[in-house]
Symmetry: C2
Subunit: 335 residues, 2 copies
Amino acid sequence: MSCFAASLAICAILNPRKQVCILGTGGGGVMEAEKVVIIGSGPAGLTAALYAFRLGRLPLVIEGPQPGGQLMGTSNIENWPGEQKIQGALLMQKMREQVQGLGVRFVSETATGLEKCENGFVISTKNSRYPAQAVIIATGSAPRKLGCPGEAEYWGKGVSSCSVCDGPLFAGRPVVVVGGGDSAAENAQYLARLGSKVTLVHALGALTASRAMQEMVLSNPAITIIYDSTVTGIEGDGIAVTGVVITNSKTKSERTIPTDGVFIAIGLIPNTQFCRTLLECRPSGHIITTSHTQTSVEGIYAAGDVADMRYRQAIAAAGSGCMAALDVDGYLKKI
Amino acid sequence: MSCFAASLAICAILNPRKQVCILGTGGGGVMEAEKVVIIGSGPAGLTAALYAFRLGRLPLVIEGPQPGGQLMGTSNIENWPGEQKIQGALLMQKMREQVQGLGVRFVSETATGLEKCENGFVISTKNSRYPAQAVIIATGSAPRKLGCPGEAEYWGKGVSSCSVCDGPLFAGRPVVVVGGGDSAAENAQYLARLGSKVTLVHALGALTASRAMQEMVLSNPAITIIYDSTVTGIEGDGIAVTGVVITNSKTKSERTIPTDGVFIAIGLIPNTQFCRTLLECRPSGHIITTSHTQTSVEGIYAAGDVADMRYRQAIAAAGSGCMAALDVDGYLKKI
């Protein structure tokens, strides 16, 4: 898709050879480029907005399909420094009110494309195109889901994708972990250490986790493994999870086991579909960054889970959002 | 200093050839090694403690000479995500209550040494020695100070070392920036952008900042530079700063200029005196980390300003504290 063909003529000139466009500079009826557009509105995006605004860069936030990010789907969180216990949604509301109070602008759209132009970038959404001198990508990742009945209804009410976040709420209680890779094994180990009786439900006949992780799981008396099986239903009393339906993929037999928590660890999908052609990404889809938040394209920075396969915590995402804003500030000074 | 000679015989055996000692394992009257000792209790240290505890690693925090870290010396902060305006000291109190509520242990001591042992490390303080399987260093840095009358009295009441933190409180008001390097130039530029009338007081006859930064400062009509001069006194009305005494180093003449804020940007000193012989550090004294929090010695991790010359923000420090705790957890699983 060419810049010229855009519904809003914000890119003035297309250079077909270079596949780049030239941003409008405010004259001649073309829309002026934003200093910085932040894509995503979770802890990373909102912290980037907070810092970018305070640095005088008047950011525009394209908030995405789930304003507030993954924390909106959690119940109480106890691992945000300074908040003994706070609803994930309330924490995000406080962050949002803070930056909106400063004057940060939000648009309720989702980025669908990102192009490089001669002197900046253009972010496409379904209905608009936003020119920007610099971009911070903070679109996070989405846990791969089971897609079974009850999963959506009990998400945040017993169903979770983060044992470090929600595990302590289930200490000493029966939980089910779904998956068989490193992440599932770590979740199971961690929950067992908290005193939970863990049932690991894995689709295959053997774990796919690293050998060391496998050995730990297999030798842990608090962990029971059900192989060749998938969770095909999540049951509850309307308030919280009470059990899961497990289907054996070979015999097709079903059984229901009681549980208080269901931890789904079958992978995360970083939300990078819109920028994978422009930026270097890992095979997993995560954006590759060097020197903290720098992506493979100068002027584009990434913060939070979209570039983080390893820690995936709200406070780490917020920290990297701050870094991205400071990096953008340095970049804008330079150009 | 050998482990064997320690006042508490917590290191059982010294191997003189390797300059390493062997940690006690709880038997035979020797003190059991901690899983993880966290040195420092600012945002990085307390977030590391929060995560380490939740990961089941029961950390011990050696809180250092300034419990709570640099934020204790600030007034209102407005750049902690989720808190529109909060006293730095209150934010740190909330973090501390949160981790103390979990059961994290604190000792009111300051690390004076760090040694590698055969199977871990020993942290020395004036009165004790603490063996540990893993260590997180989060001792932060201290702004280099002027040492003039009024500086201590008005610290946090108009005197600051962080314009990004405190600058917006002085928007549109006269401020003095002390220093002539990149940091001072950036502070001056940033404060001018906020609408402040900035007086830059520099000890030498020319700025030492990078050429680009110098040009920006020199061409900014909101910034006046006083060369060959030092701030030799800070005056106030008991509540807030009202002026500074400036002494010309050549003529020795003194004058007082009115100001609402004094930003001291003459360098930061990372608190790494106790570990510089063991860990690779930059010429500035900052600990060198790779892969986020890993220091040059396996089992020792660094978080926050002690390893961060670039961002130096509380939220970034907290994020790296979280990362260090997760890295320690991975390390302890491995050993």
